[in-house]
Symmetry: none
Subunit: 155 residues, 4 copies
Amino acid sequence: MRRILVVTFAVLLGLGALPARAQPAPGYGPNIPLEAARKILEAGIRDAQARNLAMAVAVVDTAGNLVAFGRVDGTQTASLGIAIEKAKPAVAYRRSTKVFEDAVAGGRNAILALPGIMPIEGGLLILHENRIVGAVGVSGGTAAEDGQVAAASLR
Amino acid sequence: MRRILVVTFAVLLGLGALPARAQPAPGYGPNIPLEAARKILEAGIRDAQARNLAMAVAVVDTAGNLVAFGRVDGTQTASLGIAIEKAKPAVAYRRSTKVFEDAVAGGRNAILALPGIMPIEGGLLILHENRIVGAVGVSGGTAAEDGQVAAASLR
Amino acid sequence: MRRILVVTFAVLLGLGALPARAQPAPGYGPNIPLEAARKILEAGIRDAQARNLAMAVAVVDTAGNLVAFGRVDGTQTASLGIAIEKAKPAVAYRRSTKVFEDAVAGGRNAILALPGIMPIEGGLLILHENRIVGAVGVSGGTAAEDGQVAAASLR
Amino acid sequence: MRRILVVTFAVLLGLGALPARAQPAPGYGPNIPLEAARKILEAGIRDAQARNLAMAVAVVDTAGNLVAFGRVDGTQTASLGIAIEKAKPAVAYRRSTKVFEDAVAGGRNAILALPGIMPIEGGLLILHENRIVGAVGVSGGTAAEDGQVAAASLR
């Protein structure tokens, strides 16, 4: 999973010396079941609490619909919606929200006009047998912290 | 409507039927913490599964913001949002959504113009020490089933 | 409905019942100034507090834009917006929101499709020298209580 | 952004400049009561009038819900809503709206995609005993003037 993700970023960002199309974005698989979503959610919440960060964690299915959600007590209000809004475009555009953040940071403001975009790190695809089964979104810390907790939730 | 309201609160508090106006709508207390919300969510999910019903369960805080959410696999898509939209007006209007359903059923169509209303059973206040700390919303079955699972989640 | 309208205006003006059509809907005058709006707001808040009711009070100008707003501590969340949403259509349709409530209660459900309607008592025109200068909206109690506090705010 | 954030909080708290990360964003406390909100509102209105500026001033609680609102006569219509829309994200994101304005001015356009953002100076947190109890939003002048009146309202 990690490998596919990294390659996807590299291709999108035009950074690597990787052959184009060597590894396309993964396709959609079945929807993540509640039990799997709950484990990701709980791993994210635990990781946030271990860092003493008040964060919201959301898991969505392949259609971007909410499967599981939780938040550490005291999480800032805006982050509740943003966690969901990071997971949704990750699935809909089949890439991490960091790809959008980096693109905008690099001057590609047109990205901001894409429907349902959230150009802040913290939204990651959930893959199973090389297919997308959902996404996780995290919000409440800095963009980098959100990304770290999202990654930790998938480990 | 006043009488229905009082009885609904009485049921929530486990006190049985009370004379009208004996018990005004409770005030807002602190926000429900994640741990308490998680228990309500899990009790609701378990009860839905025991009934073999595919349902979504949402817990919101005193501001109507999402605290915890889960859904049984295969829940119909519309019910994901409706579970949240039942919990929100329960808190905002300080009453069960069944009060709205009964009022509309009784011919009070003006209720339908109220902002953020969801006039279907299944949204219940969560009280702690006689104060509102949040609400639970359930959707996916009939209105009566939604109400039963919501009540079971609070037991 | 015209008859109801006229009587409503008559009550507003403190003139008692008048023959139908004896008094058409008043026209728009200048916008209510902040000082006058503040007095109405404070009179409404004081009256609500005297009744031990947690209510929101809003004053809007002839365009329905907010001039002054306040709420008793602990007012239910939904009532904050509803107070404003009662004042707006009072001005826009040049009549008390009770007129809408009575019409819907009488079976005229088509009223519910009117833009910006709020068919619940508690929105009253503010008149100065027989012209509309704004409206006050009150929410937080029963429809009748809302109407009483709105009337008290104009005395 | 972190540094600006900390300084903004430090100014609010009257503590002067602090080293970065010395002071994390404050947590949410209880909602500001009407009396305190009214004093802030009136101080803001008086300050605007003293500067001969037609401005709107809004005070919201920890959930971003309106507590008190007023406007100088003749305030431009758009500013009525903007005053509220500055106060809301200050609370929801636990920082001054100037932080957003500065970030966008510095090229961080991704900020513009955040939900409910208002990237113009004039929205400030209201703190009590180091906790967020609400926010004040001011609109009607230049961004700098809005910020000055907002600050004056809290003195």
